[in-house]
């Protein structure tokens, strides 16, 4: 499936965020200078799960792939390719689908970047029965692997008006259950 953003929803990856998600991100910020050495190309899914899952780029390449076409605030159009966050969380055993009810609804995903940046998504906004947000874990941009400050993995959130939750240099997804 390939889907495009609605034209009125402009994604600003590189602009000053204006909405509340930016405030959430800023409040969670743990400032640290990023390690300039190349990051290991792995994505760790951890937290309140039966066991942690570590995915390499080749693991993601074998999962169902999606492409998202987004437009930056300066008009640049970019195609991102990767795997839906939903698919990765399901594979990690996060409470989704029939399991997403009762106390499980008070669960969220903490996405952490290599430079210390952090943002939050609730499981409900990702689950198809609730928000069904098509959030992508991207590993390719315009057909090429993500590199430098973009990669090797990043989030792409086409449903967000601001780009502040489209975390670059993504390293870890931590599942947190507030009620057990």
């Amino acid at each position: 499936m390939r889907y495009k953003r609605r034209p009125s929803f402009l994604l600003g990856f590189a602009v000053r965020p204006l909405c509340i998600v930016a405030a959430i991100g800023a409040s969670l910020l743990c400032a640290q200078t990023p390690d300039p050495q190349p990051a290991p190309a792995t994505l760790t899914i951890t937290g309140d799960l039966p066991s942690s899952l570590v995915l390499k780029a080749e693991d993601l390449s074998k999962m169902p792939r999606e492409t998202v076409s987004v437009q930056d605030q300066d008009g640049t159009k970019v195609d991102y390719e990767g795997v839906l966050l939903l698919e990765v969380l399901k594979r990690a055993g996060a409470p989704l689908g029939n399991q997403l009810r009762g106390k499980a609804l008070a669960s969220y995903v903490l996405a952490k970047a290599r430079d210390g940046y952090q943002v939050v998504f609730t499981l409900a906004e990702i689950d198809p029965a609730f928000g069904n947000e098509q959030i992508l874990i991207a590993d390719r941009r315009n057909g090429k692997p993500l590199f430098g400050y973009q990669g090797p993995f990043r989030l792409v959130c086409p449903g967000d008006k601001a780009g502040a939750r489209s975390v670059r240099m993504l390293e870890t997804l931590e599942i947190v259950r507030l009620q057990k």
Partner: protein, 389 residues
């Protein structure tokens, strides 16, 4: 009687409907190619098309006329200055001075901005939220009195000088075909605007690395610097983001973006006017005290060529720029501008300061230097045509 009137009306209506078709057919040979041809942008991958005002479409002929006008000292009151005096190609179309100097020697209060990629600027000048087209902006240096820049008179004296130049008779006719007298102020500003829009920089080592797929185009130090630049602790990218490294960037796809202005803590004078007059930022237009010291984010493309920095040229080097941002504002210890910029009440929350190691500093400078496009400063399409052999 009634049917005759109706028939006449019908004929007139038919002629009216046919008129655009006939006009198109009549003008087709001229527009099919050559001087009146639409301008070919030749944009690289990753660059969107710039917005162009409907009233001044880009043509090859207007761009070429604009180039001649841009470099012509007859466009000043005393024949001593042209647009290129403050916008030199070798310096990425800046002048290397802290602040500009006009044809009569009068000092401008602000630094000449680079014209490279000015086609993508959502607003023009450092701090005028209302100045949105190059056509309007050209009138300021041409006719402005405070300060005098080119010092031209509105009575059109300079147009007489232009008419006397045989080359211009050819260029104006090509750029504005069919006009009885194409030597008008409007046509001059339209042509200059078209030339300025054509100055696109997209061939820096950074572009070759990022958009061209050449992993060896930049050094490892510059790659580390890029990651620092785009990291959360430094957050340089929050204002200097996107393909043009400025949050004041617009394009054909998004021509009406909300432009933000920022106070970066350069000054903190006592009282409401915390920035030294007349450079009070967009406060000059809004009169809101919270807008004092807020200026547009300039592009960082070719930044290594455009020293000294900031709206008033008060920061001399890129190293000093890094020191300013690392400290979260500039402290001036004495004199009329003394104050702790870090504590400016209007300072942008993003200017919080950060720590840099010596290596970080070197890496960031290496990254910034990789934004220099040697081609744009040597491209003959943007060069002085009066000195061509």
């Amino acid at each position: 009687m009634t049917s005759a009137v109706q028939m006449r009306r019908g004929v007139l209506l038919a002629l009216g409907m046919l008129a655009p078709v006939l006009l198109t057919w009549w003008s087709a040979p001229a527009a099919a190619g050559g001087a009146s041809a639409p301008y070919q942008w030749r944009l690289p991958q990753g660059f969107p098309k710039p917005p162009v005002p409907a009233g001044n479409p880009m043509t090859e002929a207007k761009v070429e006329l604009g180039r001649y006008l841009f470099y012509d000292t007859r466009m000043s009151v005393n024949g001593k200055a042209s647009c290129a005096t403050c916008h030199r190609q070798s310096l990425a179309f800046t002048d290397g001075r802290p602040t500009g100097i006009g044809a009569t020697g009068e000092k401008h209060s602000r630094s000449a901005m680079s014209l490279v990629n000015v086609a993508y600027a959502g607003v023009l000048t450092w701090s005028n939220p209302q100045m949105k087209t190059l056509e309007d902006q050209a009138l300021v240096p041409m006719f402005g009195r405070h300060p005098v820049e080119l010092g031209l008179s509105k009575d059109g004296d300079f147009l007489t000088r232009l008419r006397a130049e045989p080359k211009y008779r050819e260029l104006f006719e090509q750029a504005f075909p069919g006009e009885m007298d194409p030597f008008t102020v409007t046509n001059v500003t339209h042509a200059i605007a078209c030339f300025e829009r054509s100055i696109i920089s997209a061939r820096s080592p950074y572009d070759r690395y990022h958009f061209g797929g050449d992993d060896h185009a930049v050094s490892e130090s510059a790659k580390r610097g890029e990651i620092l630049f785009f990291s959360q602790p430094l957050s340089c990218f929050r204002c200097h983001g996107g393909f043009n490294f400025s949050d004041a960037t617009v394009s054909e796809r998004n021509p009406s973006r909300q432009i933000e202005f920022h106070n970066t803590g350069l000054y903190n004078l006592a009282g409401i006017l915390s920035y030294p007059a007349p450079n009070t930022g967009i406060y000059e237009y809004t009169q809101k005290p919270s807008d004092v010291g807020k200026f547009k984010t300039p592009t960082l493309r070719n930044i290594a060529l455009t020293a000294p920095y900031m709206h008033d040229g008060s920061v001399s080097s890129l190293t000093d720029v890094l020191d300013h941002y690392a400290a979260g504002g500039r402290t001036i210890h004495g004199g009329p501008d003394a104050g702790v910029g870090h504590d400016n009440p209007n300072k942008d929350a993003l200017i919080g300061g950060f720590s840099l190691s010596d290596r970080d500093r070197i890496d960031l400078i290496a990254f910034l230097k990789n934004l220099t496009d040697q081609e744009v400063i040597h491209d003959q399409r943007f060069a002085d045509p009066w000195t061509e052999k």
